[in-house]
Symmetry: C2
């Protein structure tokens, strides 16, 4: 079914526009994928989509790749320009259901996970999910204070990796306890040179790595719950590493 | 000397405003450091500064740390707001002379260097300079097509690392030839899984690592000049790594 929408006052258009806000996402229990790259990643990963929307030109260009069982809406260019976060959208979008976090049980989780504690920069967060995917991790848990996985900037920098690995929003206290009580190592990260050198622990096949806030690192109460806290020795005069770079260095050392 | 400037038409104010453009930087052979963090890094590293400028409040707050031999200009808040790149400046700046690239000779360079070929994102570039500093590299060469080291966004993400290690703009053909003719290894990076696994080469004490463009990787002609080209094996389904993360993984493996 391909339905044409020509009025900016259309109820669906208003709902799609609202997907840049948390309230709007909650109302329809969906979020927005912007650009063909992300829509294509979702289709390739056979993710459920609730709608595909785009200009006639974009829908025609990708007609062969669109799944037959998803409703398609053709928008005028001026309506397409009002949807999404980028000032100059490509003109193709999809809506996907919000993830059901309650389906993911830390007591059953396998493989290696990345836990994010109060990480705030959307670009850093998305890059870490993408890196976790590349390094072969099983999933990423967005803990308290970490920016939403549905923010347009997070989605852009994840580049579709949320379709390859699990991305969950949950309380890290629960996840750390669940892992350590199963005797799975949880390695925190620490800005203290007295902590354990990240190169001096064995490779991980199951367990977790925790990254903390850009400025303050991991919360002290979480640091006390981990198996060990690791440190990346700084050789030069830089005060610290970018959090996404640090996460990449540790993940590729211990897992990749 | 602390001179008060109250007119936005002042000649110096116009020059400072122009430092966000290449033309403006060329005219006075200086660039702008924005925020106390960067000004302080320059002072700590005893970098030559041509002027320090700020609001009365900011200058008073940091009076004890300002070097005695640099001219200080007190600006009204409304003038300070027109200088620099950030919408809401902190109100303190310094101007520093542009680097003299001709002072750096690849035939004499020691230690490990990072070469950037056509890297375009200012945040990625600055993060790589900061990471090179942290990993103990000697310097970074900005090759052709790489964004300028004086762009405000590059300066922000370098976080002052340009005062700790050398940052040069030069032709990578010259630098690669100079290194390989001295029998120093130059490791390119390659998106081809047939290339050498980055974990299978020995640690570097002198030589170079080359990172390429975000979308296209290193230029083919440069790849043919290197000692070897390295690949980071991707385990998951991500198509690639962010260039700054990839650089961090390789630098910390081979140098850090």
């Amino acid at each position: 079914m391909r339905e044409k929408i020509t009025s900016g006052q259309n109820k669906r258009v208003k709902q799609w526009r609202a997907l840049t806000s948390k309230k709007g996402r909650k109302a329809t229990q969906t979020y927005l994928l912007e650009s063909w790259h992300l829509v294509q990643e979702a289709i390739k990963a056979q993710q459920p989509l609730t709608a595909i929307l785009g200009t006639a030109e974009q829908l025609d260009r990708h007609a062969d790749e669109l799944p037959a069982d998803v409703d398609v809406f053709e928008l005028t260019e001026s309506i397409a320009n009002t949807i999404g976060d980028t000032g100059t959208p490509q003109g193709i979008f999809a809506t996907a259901p919000l993830t059901r976090d309650e389906d993911v049980d830390p007591a059953m989780a396998t493989g290696v996970w990345l836990f994010l504690d109060y990480v705030q920069d959307p670009g850093n967060i998305g890059t870490m999910v993408r890196t976790a995917d590349a390094a072969g991790l099983a999933g990423v848990v967005f803990g308290k204070g970490t920016a939403s996985r549905y923010l347009p900037k997070v989605l852009r920098s994840m580049q579709g990796s949320q379709f390859h690995i699990q991305v969950v929003e949950a309380d890290l206290h629960d996840w750390i306890s669940a892992f350590t009580s199963r005797h799975l190592p949880v390695y925190g990260t620490n800005l203290d040179p007295q902590a354990k050198d990240y190169r001096d622990v064995p490779a991980l096949s199951a367990g977790a790595i925790v990254m903390g806030n850009e400025g303050n690192g991991m919360a002290p109460d979480l640091q006390q719950m981990t198996t060990r806290n690791l440190y990346i020795p700084i050789k030069g005069q830089a005060e610290s590493l970018n959090v996404a770079v640090a996460a990449g260095v540790v993940m590729f050392r211990l897992v990749g």
